[in-house]
């Protein structure tokens, strides 16, 4: 909407200024040259930085991925797609990918409803609202490293969490949170939820504030219960924000590294590995740079395919929202 309007306005301006241009003393070609110079000055540095540090590394990664290379000396050992078949057929990589997918699905199934609930609560006028927002958002501001170190300490066997459970008579629930192969992935998920719930909440809160309160008031006059109004008015209007959150959340889950690496290094026995911990172990620690670059390319392609599919089937319907408008 806003886009078509401003485009029309721009077109209108062009039409209006054209006669003036023709009669102007300054020749048109000089104006055009000036515009070209301005655009080059304005766009050159950002495009240069972006291409140099975002696009070029990915192109290099694709190139390195075709070689068996330990980082020293020139690229000589060309092995074609051998790295790719190594990554894509390896059970350890499959396991890591599965963990990423599980985290992504759990995020949507569990974090999203919690975020929506919290956003609805925080959107109400009540005492201490600002403080509450701060409190909910605070974990998001901590670095992943700090959060991971903190939870690593809290979850030590016999540590604060265990002592707390014992103290309230739930000692039977105590487990090896970070050392049990069947539990560790879910422990990581809970910590990730603690860390990221504030972001979802603030994003949804911003979306809620974009919904005119008159709509709910009108529904209330029509006799809708508060719950009905929430379900049939607020949530559908929140749709675009929710879809953006899902998008960001899945992309984030595919890139999960910092929390896992500090708390478990992907262990025990790869039970909490992710694609990026797999890359770190096989690429960086074993200095198999060609193989590590291959994992980057695979991760890149998975993210890209997800983005395309998601855009095609979920985001296309949205007309509002910066991210969606950009992708559509």
């Amino acid at each position: 909407m806003a886009r078509t309007q401003s485009a029309a306005a721009a077109a209108g301006r062009d039409l209006l200024s054209r006669p003036a241009e023709a009669g102007a003393t300054r020749p048109r070609s000089r104006r055009r040259l000036r515009k070209a110079v301005e655009l080059t000055l304005l766009l050159g540095p950002p495009v240069g930085l972006f291409v140099g540090f975002v696009i070029v590394p990915m192109i290099f990664a694709a190139w390195y991925s075709l070689y068996n290379w330990n980082g020293f000396g020139p690229l000589t050992d060309f092995i074609g797609f051998q790295n790719y078949s190594g990554v894509l057929t390896g059970p350890v990589f499959h396991q890591a990918l599965l963990h990423n997918v599980i985290i992504a699905l759990l995020s949507v199934a569990i974090q999203l409803p919690i975020s929506i609930g919290l956003a609805l609560l925080l959107n109400r006028r009540q005492h201490g609202r600002t403080f509450l927002r701060l409190a909910v958002f605070a974990p998001f501001v901590l670095s992943e490293a700090t959060a991971a170190v903190m939870w690593y300490e809290l979850l030590q066997p016999g540590g604060p969490v265990d002592a707390l459970l014992k103290g309230v008579g739930l000692g039977g629930l105590i487990h090896y949170w970070l050392a049990s192969t069947s539990l560790v992935l879910y422990t990581v998920f809970v910590v990730a939820t603690w860390k990221y719930i504030g972001f979802g909440t603030v994003l949804l809160l911003a979306g809620l504030q974009g919904i005119p309160p008159e709509l709910r008031e009108a529904a209330a006059i029509d006799g809708a219960t508060p719950w009905q109004a929430t379900r049939t008015i607020t949530l559908p209007l929140l749709g675009p924000t929710i879809r953006i959150w899902i998008f960001l959340s899945v992309i984030g889950a595919l890139q999960l590294f910092d929390l896992v690496w500090i708390m478990t290094q992907g262990g025990p026995a790869n039970a909490s590995s992710t694609m990026l911990t797999y890359q770190y172990v096989n690429g960086v620690e074993r200095t198999q740079w060609g193989y590590g670059a291959t994992v980057s390319v695979v991760l890149f392609v998975i993210s890209f395919v997800f983005a395309l599919v998601y855009q095609r089937y979920a985001l296309r319907r949205d007309t509002a929202g910066a991210v969606t408008r950009a992708v559509v």
Partner: protein, 293 residues
């Protein structure tokens, strides 16, 4: 809906009654929920801070007792160590350079992409938008290989430049609609008054875009401040460690000295929390703007 409209015939409810009925969770219940949430979000951080005042022996004996007596030595040793302050300085330097570059270059690009018409404009925009899909972590290893070639390895710029580049997409995606929404009449008026477009950009558009600039600045700063994988791969010498790297390495070095690890972790939380408390209102405001477009 029809049943609801039928009821409309009755006397309309007073406005304050409507306000009352808009809530679907009773007030005491909502306070209870909020208290639980507060406990879950804040308590772990408070625990770290308070635990830093214990001794490791106390923590081993009973992790959940209040410090007795309160000891300052953990915090004092760390707050006077060069290890901590060097990490803070490195993080700050990198974040300032990355944020500055992202905001300056991002606003230039957003200006060109919002207020000029030229062939290929949407193509350039799309190029940046595609960058939204790739958080820094995806590219850490390829970046390491590239920076090695450029001789920027183990160099603060080697982290700051990529971080700025990876912050450009979100900066531009937020700034462009914002700049676009500023009325064209302002620009026409400035031009009529003899200003060039660049002067309009610097003198009028940028000051008007302040709320959005603050939002993107905070986002870029936080991204850089929290980055872990890229500095982990790039920095080999401890002298360059940023705060996240320092926290993680401190923990693995002093595994047995729990109280000191608590204190270090607690101290490392303070800068980010302080910045956030200072900036939160602006951040939420800016996000609202970005979502409304």
């Amino acid at each position: 809906m029809t049943a609801a409209s039928a009821r409309l015939g009755r006397r309309p409810p007073r406005r304050d009654v409507i306000r009352e009925r808009r809530t679907w969770l009773s007030l005491p219940a909502s306070y209870l929920v909020i208290l639980v949430v507060l406990g879950l979000t804040i308590a772990p951080m408070l625990y770290m801070i308070v635990g830093g005042f214990s001794t490791t022996a106390q923590l081993n004996a009973n992790p959940n007792a209040l410090p007795h007596p309160w000891v300052w030595s953990n915090y004092a040793t760390i707050a006077t160590s060069s290890l901590f302050w060097r990490a803070v300085a490195n993080s700050l330097l990198i974040a300032v350079v990355a944020t500055g570059l992202a905001v300056i270059l991002g606003s230039m690009a957003a200006f060109a992409l919002s207020r000029y018409t030229f062939r290929g404009r949407e193509g350039v925009y799309l190029l940046f938008v595609v960058g939204l899909l790739f958080p820094l972590n995806t590219a850490a290893l390829p970046l390491f290989l590239q920076l090695q070639q450029m001789g920027l390895n183990d160099n603060l710029l080697g982290v700051a430049l990529p971080e700025a580049a990876f912050s450009l997409p979100v900066t531009i995606v937020i700034l462009r609609p914002f700049m676009r929404a500023i009325p064209g009449e302002l620009e026409d008026a400035a031009i009529v008054d003899g200003a060039t477009r660049i002067r309009f950009f610097l003198g009028i558009l940028l000051p008007l875009s302040r709320p959005a600039l603050i939002t993107v600045g905070i986002l870029a700063f936080v991204t850089s401040w929290n980055a872990y994988l890229l500095p982990l791969v790039i920095f080999s010498s401890q002298d360059h460690y940023t705060l996240p790297l320092a926290v993680a390495s401190f923990q693995s070095t002093y595994t047995q000295d729990t109280a000191r690890v608590y204190a270090f972790t607690a101290l490392s939380m303070i800068p980010a929390l302080a910045i956030f408390i200072f900036a939160q209102r602006k951040l939420v405001g800016g996000l609202v703007g970005a979502i409304r477009g």
